[in-house]
Symmetry: C2
Subunit: 250 residues, 2 copies
């Protein structure tokens, strides 16, 4: 199952990144490990890695076809992806269309409130600090991105949100919110990196109004709702209905 790859470069909570033959590429393994609440909650979900890899591949191809640059190059095997090597910016960009989750714990905004325009939150990716929210002034102080990159990050993230929302709506899925990570390649270009999957998106099934059954994403794991992998498979099935088979890369 495992394709040829070089040494392990980095291991995250849900993925391992390996060196590839070409210096400007990496091989990404999507793991079945599930974690939540800054890794306080952990489990193994058989089949999750494969589903997230395949869903991400479809979505990366779809947004690339509409002009968004990503690190994605192709699929190497079921849960293995080939990607451009990037320096990941240690920020989590969260776009919210509907208020839920931490936003409703940190503000008096009612869960379910539609956010127009979508709310963009930027968090500092640091497990030791529990991924704190950053104001623009704190972001500037940390000096992680230039003023131009800050604007480009927002433009890319809002564009990805509009595209994903449109894709999902076609198959009766509601994009509630999602997290993006961005990276800079060897040419200095800003690319969408990481993954776009039910681990990083909140997605509700518009074919039901039941507040628990409609949840098809990682909140099923966070909230112990069960049928986590089945729900990811349902998202995969619907996304396959509007995308072509992801390309193989070799």
């Amino acid at each position: 199952m495992s394709p040829d790859h070089g040494p392990l470069l980095y291991e995250g909570k849900a993925k391992r990144i390996f060196a590839a033959d070409k210096a400007e590429q990496v091989i990404v393994e999507f793991k079945d490990d599930a974690t939540a609440f800054n890794a306080l909650k952990k489990s193994q979900l058989e089949g999750k890695g494969k589903l997230n890899c395949q869903i991400s591949a479809c979505l990366f191809e779809m947004i690339e076809a509409l002009g968004v640059r990503t690190h994605y190059l192709g699929i190497a095997d079921e849960n293995w992806m080939v990607a451009e090597r990037v320096k990941v910016i240690p920020l989590e960009i969260v776009l919210r269309n509907i208020a839920t989750g931490s936003l409703c714990k940190e503000t008096p905004i009612d869960p379910g409130t539609e956010l127009k325009p979508p709310l963009l939150d930027i968090y500092f990716k640091d497990d030791g600090l529990a991924d704190p929210l950053l104001t623009d002034a704190r972001l500037e102080l940390l000096g992680l991105v230039s003023a131009e990159q800050r604007i480009e990050i927002e433009t890319i993230s809002r564009r990805v949100n509009e595209l994903l929302k449109g894709f999902f709506e076609k198959v009766d899925l509601l994009l509630v919110d999602f997290k993006l990570e961005l990276g800079i390649n060897q040419l200095g270009e800003l690319l969408v990196a990481d993954e776009i999957s039910p681990d990083t998106c909140r997605i509700w099934d518009m074919r039901t109004n039941d507040p628990e059954n409609r949840i098809l994403d990682k909140d099923r794991f966070r909230k112990d709702l069960g049928r986590v992998v089945d729900s990811y498979a349902e998202i995969h099935k619907r996304v396959q209905g509007i995308s072509s088979k992801p390309r193989n890369y070799s």
Copy 2:
């Protein structure tokens, strides 16, 4: 000791606000109650109320003389102040000149780092939510202030910072950071409200480099360093050296 006043309008952690004879005024009692960590830590510090009232009065008069509008009208008694009645905006505006406290727990910025320009953080004043940090986008979403008021709040806060820093430097005190609250009076004008005291300012004694002894503010209470009221009295003594006796109001 207690001046004539009407019914209690509001009781906070460190002050009580009473109605005055005139509808557009209130009488403020500064209490000896000390609280920290969202009121998880509580104590009584005899003499604190009087010192905070007198220090605030001096500082309000000094910034008013240089053009900053405040709710302060005058002293009614040792720990009693007369103020203009305002609708307090439920925001805590924090200006930081030196990194310390929560900033260093929420970012990798080292304690003691000089912040140039001073960092402005806006928190939502809500004990139930533990006063969360607000980004500009979240502030806009909450709709508590207009875009014009947001700019005016920043202008006033930075001006108060420059003035206070200058006053304190004259008497060998370093203004590390401080919190402001603002209110809107019956004419719709934005005024500095609440208090400006060692409860709401971090102030270091520049006559020593000892990292504990130099602390003259509420951090002595938070960190159990002792001599809290003595330190407040030291600040009062030095501020008296550069101000006139606060006016009585009747």
